[in-house]
């Protein structure tokens, strides 16, 4: 396990570079993101452990980041002041671009992995915005009317974008549809609804009350499946083709809210979560054994299995990401304890 301390700054998000197998970035904030500066750390895995390549300090907290998919040295950062900043690792001190349209904290940024000249952002102001790195204004605004914690482009289609909000819904937008009154919204999935989950000893069963959704991620192999998680501690997977059918699977076990989810880039059934309960957990949604996504007659959600757990963090874990390169299983996690760990999930599995 490799370790780096983001001294004075509490980690909020971590992402591996899609270009270099040894480079990653951490978005962080002083004073737990409540007040004060932010800092974007560009780090390299070297023979001597994790070494800082560069860092950029910002006026306000940084909550998320996304590597550019078209330029290997560029990283986006989401700021508490409502701005989105594009940094270049070869430049010093200042961002090379700055977009300020969101009225409140920007909580997520995501680069389109298919149409690579687009990225999106989501904010507590209740909007998702779509941008081009070459244009000074946003291309499109998608209103959600609810604090939007996470937005993401679908990795299988350049025009599909999803987000989760504090009103407990997944919204899926298709930009190919006309911009009518629905603002490209094509699907809205109630995260809390659906058939009762089977009770697990010590865990709540039955239909859940609505709870803020904090994170979601598209499966990298199954184009219609995404996973969500949030305040109610449960991780759920949904098939966007059957929005009213309830979750495909549920994964229960975190003791506090789940802050970040990431599907494995290598295995279609494995995902990683980070939680306020100070753990990262590795899960299988058991789609590999439970008849896949085609079993539409299923009685209720499949109960996923926890495969492993990492408990080194001593504060809220806020970010996790998988390494795209090398042997499957390497990942990075950051938290409010100012620690970045790079570790192999296989070491946590018994």
């Amino acid at each position: 396990m490799l370790h780096y301390r983001t001294q004075g700054y509490n980690g909020c998000a971590v992402k591996y570079s899609p270009f270099f197998d040894n480079r990653l970035a951490v978005a962080s904030s002083s004073n737990f993101g409540l007040v004060g500066n932010g800092r974007l750390h560009i780090l390299e895995l070297t023979a001597n452990g994790i070494q800082p390549l560069k860092w950029f300090t910002t006026q306000d907290s940084l909550y998320d980041l996304a590597w550019s998919e078209i330029h290997e040295n560029q990283v986006l950062a989401a700021s508490g002041d409502g701005s989105i900043k594009l940094f270049d690792c070869t430049a010093n001190d200042f961002p090379i671009s700055n977009w300020k349209e969101h009225a409140r904290e920007v909580f997520s940024v995501s680069w389109n992995p298919v149409a690579k000249d687009r990225f999106c952002s989501s904010s507590w102001d209740g909007t998702v915005r779509i941008w081009s790195p070459h244009r000074p204004q946003s291309l499109l605004t998608l209103p959600t009317h609810s604090c939007t914690y996470s937005a993401s482009f679908c990795p299988h289609s350049p025009d599909i974008i999803s987000c989760v909000t504090s009103d407990s819904y997944v919204r899926v937008f298709d930009l190919r549809t006309p911009a009518s009154a629905s603002n490209h919204l094509v699907t809205q999935i109630p995260i809390h609804a659906g058939p009762p989950a089977p009770a697990i000893p010590g865990q709540p069963g039955g239909p859940a009350p609505p709870a803020e959704a904090l994170t979601h991620d598209w499966n990298k192999y199954r184009p219609t499946v995404l996973a969500t998680a949030g305040v109610d501690r449960a991780i759920r997977t949904f098939d966007i083709r059957a929005p009213q059918q309830g979750p495909l699977s549920t994964m229960l076990g975190h003791e506090y809210a789940v802050r970040k989810l990431a599907w494995s880039p290598h295995l279609s059934n494995v995902l990683l979560s980070a939680s306020y309960d100070m753990t990262c957990r590795v899960w299988s949604d058991r789609s590999d054994v439970a008849g896949g996504d085609m079993d539409m007659m299923r009685a209720g959600p499949v109960v996923g299995a926890e495969l492993g757990r990492m408990g080194r963090h001593t504060e809220f874990v806020t970010g996790v990401d998988w390494c795209l390169f090398g042997s499957e299983g390497w990942c990075a996690s950051v938290g409010w304890d100012e620690n970045l760990y790079v570790w192999d999930v296989r070491a946590t599995m018994s």
Binding site: L34, P204, A208, P209, E212, V231, R233, A234, Y256, A257
Partner: protein, 419 residues
Amino acid sequence: MSNAQQRLSQVSSHFGPGGKKGAAAITEKHPDDIVVTCALRTALTKGGKGGFKDTAGADLLAGVFKAVLNKSGVDPSSVQDIAVGSVLAPGGGATEFRAAALVAGFPESTAVKSLNRQCSSGLQAIADIANAIQSGMIDVGIGAGVESMSSQYGPGAVTEFSDLLESHPESANCKVPMGVLSENMAKDRGVTRASQDSFAAQSYQKAVAAQKAGLFNEEIAPLDVKWTDPKTGEEKTITVKADDGVRQGITAESLGKIKPAFAKDGSIHAGNASQISDGAAAVLLMKRSTAERLGQKILGKYVTASVVGVKPLLMGVGPWKAIPVALEKAGITKDDVDIYEINEAFASQCVWCVNELGIPAEKVNPKGGAIAFGHPLGCTGARQVSTLFTELKRTNKKIGVTSMCVGTGMGMAAVWVSE
């Protein structure tokens, strides 16, 4: 709110009960819980004959205020508002209750209001204070209730109805006397005299047993009052520390011999209806974070309350309608509740509500109720809280419900968690 505070509240919202539901969710402890750190009552005494027959309602209130200040040790100046429920006092008692707070030792900075929601006034006062704390209007408050039925019960308590009110049937029903309409309801709902008498006898028997075992000692604040001996006319000072309406040796058979009070073929009589009484009760409320800061010992928490309307002539069904609403708000089922304190206005309505809700008899009023020791109208809602918390604690149980029917056709209920 500043930016940093907004962000902090955003992050703290991530720590809501979330997926936890039911009893597990409401028994969780959170800094913004509304908690009870002291709940006391005076003894309840018989109207016109008992220990408080010569004591003004406001004096009872002052007495229980003093007791709360003593027992809790709370700094009187930290109490920002007091709500007092009272039904019969002219002008709502607003003037004398403010005076009672001052005489009890509260500074002028402690505000006082009176309110009247009939028999649920005491609970409404607590709910008002809890809501004011929840909304941030105040930090520490007292919900109380008081009634001196000895001095204020009588025909004068209801204003004459205008022609307009009389012209509307449901509106005119609001002034039908409680006894008469309960008699009709008992007939209408088929509540037999035998079931009422057996319920009433149990109330007496439970209260006698509880009194003998000293189970009321913790909740009752003894009060020294002046009392005139009706035989000699001599005025003396006595200490009232026990409910004097509780009678030994009552059985369903002995109650079966009493003549009905409201109709010749009726089923309701003095022995299976609540007693006319005097008493006061007060409950000290604040947020958990405040209690911890002030070093107050927490008895339990207020979870939620409900209020519903029913037909004026069927006011007795109030708890039946109000309890499920409160349970739903709290996210629990009737089986999660360990003790129900349901006011026994009349055995007929109480027994009907209990049966209709399907609550096991052993969970209802384990120390007896208003039939055995009295129903000082405005006081009852606050009295139930002290009775409930002492019993939950003694039996090491968690969740309780208090409820009552309300004259003119309403019901209230509240959910509590003992800690």
